[in-house]
Symmetry: C2
Subunit: 383 residues, 2 copies
């Protein structure tokens, strides 16, 4: 099983590129744009600089600062309604995955009828016709989600308490590593682990493909080299640039392979215990790689080697799994990712939570309920 | 100056993927497709297998076997007219760049008025609205052109004797390395050098970008490792697969940076003396890298290192240029690329041909007429 590598959106990458936002919006023909972000990003001073830049290009701005983590449907609906009321002709999403996904959702609602819930998990449905959609530029301020390089978003259905994918591409991503300089060490590590999971899951997916593999390998190599530095010295711009590039490459690498065990179980874990996404998926990566190694050792070996591990030539698949597991465990500790027991006080509650054990689709090794429990328990004990 | 990395089309890569052509066309909703190729590819038995596969999916085929090198406008017009007369609802291009570019041109003419000449070099013009275009799948049978991963084509204006770019994306590329197994050694080397130039030019373009750089580095590394093997042992499928992947990555890497000196001068050289494209550009690569090294040594160093050269840490830009030049010269000889004097008997004619000295746009070092002459002369003497 191989998959089709599909196109990411146009990507404008580099230090200082956010200073060109206004110019790019102008190229898209925008005159008045809805700018979507959260209050934290605003307080960090990132939004104002970009707003000034947009205004300097003669483009009006309408502000929406209510983005919340795990973007709730009603927030997306509110953003869309504001954009319609203000008759904007474009959007900008500034922030982490939540801001970018809220912007994608709002983009849909500028052209198609509300509420956003109509467009949840359309899967096999005809994709929305994007021809008449207004342009949207997304500007990540973390290095992790990869939402800047994928046409998907995740929105929370607040009535049914579940998360749903929406499909909406972006017109351009502007990735300026300078915007991530002020990111605290904990968020840097957590979002960085999200990117590491994306790349490792893409590489070991049963729907992997060779183009994706090239991107994932480079992403893992960059993360291993740059994440510890970015966590220790937040203003090290080389490390920040390496991480921003890695996150984007990792996002791109998912086009085709989709995700694996860490995202399949981790997102459920995150929702149940209110754990930040990158941490919830990252804490399961080491054990997940060990679990799949017996059936896909060659790819797990690449993950370990890109992280700097030495894998002896005659290693068995099981030995490769253990090397990968230990390498990732050490890396998890090196960047001070939290212990699972600090996040989930009651291990038994976690192991008995039925909701954590739904099946996985793109994992090369079939995952039973018992396997999932084992991965969770081992991750818990080792972290 | 950095550039926007733009999306390639969906890519389906891997051994045996051409056996899925019919299924993919069906997914696009096709019932009758125009299949475009040249007689050589047909004689090699490649077309028949794919035709059988398309028919097995219940899709009718209309054949167009008149593709010529440096696709002439009238051939493209003829292909388009056949497609319209037969009321096809999709296209397939099988072959090297000429077949793929002819298919792109014919795709335009199924929706927009003939002749293809109307769409030459539109540059700043509004891109054609692709919404109502019929789907086209391209299937490369060489590993070089990268046309499978770009929305551009090059068509010859037979009245004015010049080549023009057209812009037309493809719906999907199916890249099956098994189709390249029968390629003779000389064509393998020449097309492989085309890909090497794409990657080296992308990496050293003044409009380079970091995503492109990742792809270009991997492409060069793969070519250095696989091209000599693919030339020596044509049926070595690992080497063929490495080259097919490299050519696609190299094509993708050009999205944003565009080309450099080898393509700028080489295409003119090729047209004047009827030299195969890959040879005409490839014979200039070594000297071109040496010429730009003084202003972009860090990137020329990457080219040399990806090709296996050892570059001492304290090398000057000029020394890096010489190392890169020698590495590429040796590689050129290793894969038995032809001596320039075998292709162009009269060196003075070449050096006096005004048509070879038009300016270049994306080269990091300004190229005067004298510089261009020097590159041509040194290339000639050294090959």
């Amino acid at each position: 099983m191989s998959s089709v590598f599909n196109s990411p959106n146009p990507i404008f990458f580099g230090r200082g590129t956010s200073k060109l936002t206004g110019g790019k919006l102008k190229e898209f023909g925008c005159k008045k744009v809805l700018v979507i972000f959260d209050k934290g990003i605003k307080a960090a001073g990132i939004v104002d600089k970009i707003l000034d830049n947009i205004k300097a290009s003669g483009i009006e701005t309408v502000l929406f600062d209510k983005v919340e983590p795990d973007p709730p449907d009603y927030i997306v609906n509110e953003a869309g309604a504001l954009g319609l009321a203000e008759k904007v002709d474009g959007l900008v999403g500034i922030g982490g995955g939540s801001s970018m996904d809220t912007a994608k959702g709002a983009r849909i609602l500028l052209t198609f009828p509300a509420p956003i819930n109509r467009y949840f998990g359309r899967g096999d449905a005809e994709p929305l016709d994007e021809r008449n959609m207004k342009p949207v530029i997304v500007i990540p301020t973390t290095a992790g989600t990869g939402s800047e390089a994928t046409p998907g978003g995740i929105i929370t259905d607040t009535e049914k308490h579940v998360k749903w994918p929406i499909i909406c591409s972006v017109s351009m991503a502007i990735i300026d590593p300078e915007l991530t300089v002020g990111l605290p060490s904990g968020i840097t590590a957590s979002t960085g682990f999200d990117a590491l999971c994306h790349a490792a899951e893409a590489l070991t997916s049963k729907a992997h493909n060779r183009i994706s593999e090239v991107l994932a390998k480079e992403a893992i190599t960059l993360i291993a080299r740059n994440l510890p530095v970015a966590c220790r010295e937040g203003s090290n711009i080389e490390a920040r640039e390496g991480m921003s590039l890695a996150a984007t490459l990792a996002g791109m690498s998912l086009r085709g392979p989709f995700g694996g065990i860490p995202h399949d179980i981790g997102t459920l874990l995150g929702a149940r215990y209110g754990i930040p996404h990158g941490t919830a998926v990252g804490c399961l990566l080491a054990e997940s790689m060990n679990f799949i190694a017996p059936v896909i050792a060659d790819k797990v070996k690449i993950v370990a080697e890109c992280m700097g591990a030495e894998v002896p030539a005659n290693s068995t698949p099981e030995e490769i799994g253990i090397i990968a597991r230990n390498t990732i465990r050490n890396f998890y500790k090196e960047v001070n990712m939290p212990k699972m027991k600090a996040l989930i006080p009651d291990k038994q509650d976690m192991l008995q939570a039925e909701k954590l054990f739904k099946g996985t689709s793109f994992t090369p090794r079939a995952l039973t309920r018992e396997h999932a429990k084992e991965i969770l328990e081992n991750s818990y004990d080792a972290s």
